[in-house]
C-alpha cells in the first residue's frame, strides 16, 4: 500500500509527464500484473483516470490563477492536443476552459488563507466513472452503463 502511494505521489509531482503502467510499476516496485487493480482497490480510481483528474486540476488552477494563454496551459499540463484537452475538460467539468475561466474570474475569492495544495485538491474533479462513460450517459441518459471495470 505504501508503495502504491509512492506511485501516486510521483504522478502528483509530475502529472504532465507520461505515466504508463510499466513506469508506475518501476517506481512502486509492484508487479505489472497487479498494479492497475491494486491501485484501483486502494484509491478508488484506475491510475490513468487518477492522472487525468490531476491534469484537469492543474489546468483549472492555471486558468483560475493566471492569465496565460490556454495553449500554454495545455502543453504545460501534459496534453497531446488542444482538442483532447478541450473535450475532456468540458466532459469532466461541464464547461469549456474559456467559460470556466470567465466564470471563476468574475467571482472574487480569498483563497490565500488555504495552503495552495489543499486548495488544488478541493478543485480536483471527482471522477467516479470513466470520461467515455460520462459522455455516453449524457448522450443517452436512459441507458444505464454497463460496469466495464469489474476488477
Amino acid at each position: 500500500m505504501r508503495r502504491l502511494l509512492r506511485a501516486k505521489d510521483r504522478m502528483d509531482a509530475a502529472s504532465h509527464e507520461k505515466w504508463p503502467v510499466s513506469r508506475l510499476c518501476r517506481v512502486s516496485g509492484v508487479s505489472q500484473a497487479h498494479f492497475a487493480r491494486s491501485f484501483k482497490d486502494a484509491f478508488g480510481v484506475p491510475p490513468h483516470r487518477y492522472l487525468l483528474t490531476r491534469r484537469i486540476e492543474k489546468a483549472t488552477a492555471l486558468l483560475r490563477d493566471t492569465d496565460r494563454p490556454i495553449t500554454d496551459i495545455v502543453f504545460e499540463t501534459g496534453w497531446s492536443s488542444m482538442g483532447t484537452f478541450g473535450r475532456t475538460f468540458r466532459d469532466v467539468t461541464g464547461e469549456s476552459p474559456t467559460q470556466f475561466r470567465a466564470r471563476i474570474k468574475a467571482t472574487p475569492q480569498k483563497p490565500e488563507q488555504v495552503p495552495a495544495c489543499h486548495l488544488a485538491a478541493a478543485y480536483r474533479p471527482d471522477l467516479t466513472i470513466a470520461v467515455s462513460e460520462k459522455r455516453r450517459q449524457e448522450a443517452d441518459p436512459k441507458i444505464t452503463p454497463e460496469e466495464t471495470e469489474v476488477p
Partner: protein
C-alpha cells in the same frame, strides 16, 4: 498561554520508526515516551513550540479492535489522513537538509506569490506540507 490544544495525534505504522523520523530527520524532541504493556504513549515536540505535542500512536488493540486497526493502517498508507502543515523560516534550506537525510519528498519547493512550500511524507504515509510564509505574514 494556559488554555488551548495540547496534543494532536498521528497514526503511524511503527512507533520506533516514527520516533527516529521525527527526532533525527525533522529535529523534534521527545516529550513523553511511556509504555504500559503493549500500549505506548509517545509524543514529540517542535523545539520552538513547547505548548504543543504531536502524538505518534499506533492503531492497535485494545484501544481499537484488530480489524479497525488494520483499516486504519491501510488508510494511513494510502495517504488519506488529513493534511499537516509545518511552518519553517527557510523552505529551501530545510528541504536540502531534510532530503539529504533521506526524507521522502513528494513535491520540491515551489514559490507561490511569495510563500514557498514543499511536500513530504513520513515513513507511514502521513503527508506534510512545509510552508515558508510571506515576510509580512510571519511577523503578524
Amino acid at each position: 498561554m494556559s488554555q488551548g490544544v495540547g496534543v494532536v495525534g498521528l497514526y503511524v505504522r511503527d512507533q520506533d520508526e516514527a520516533l527516529q523520523f521525527y527526532v533525527d530527520k525533522l529535529g523534534f524532541r521527545v516529550h513523553t515516551d511511556v509504555k504500559n504493556g503493549e500500549f505506548r504513549w509517545l509524543t514529540v515536540q517542535h523545539p520552538e513550540q513547547p505548548s504543543f505535542q504531536l502524538g505518534l500512536f499506533k492503531p492497535q488493540p485494545p484501544v481499537i479492535d484488530a480489524a479497525t486497526a488494520q483499516s486504519v493502517h491501510e488508510i494511513v498508507a494510502k495517504g488519506a489522513m488529513p493534511p499537516l502543515v509545518l511552518i519553517v523560516d527557510d523552505c529551501r534550506a530545510a528541504f536540502d537538509r531534510m532530503r539529504s537525510s533521506g526524507v521522502e519528498f513528494t513535491q520540491d519547493p515551489i514559490d507561490r506569490y511569495g510563500t514557498i512550500d514543499a511536500g513530504f511524507r513520513d515513513p507511514s504515509g502521513n503527508g506534510w506540507k512545509m510552508i515558508q510564509a510571506r515576510e509580512e505574514r510571519r511577523t503578524k
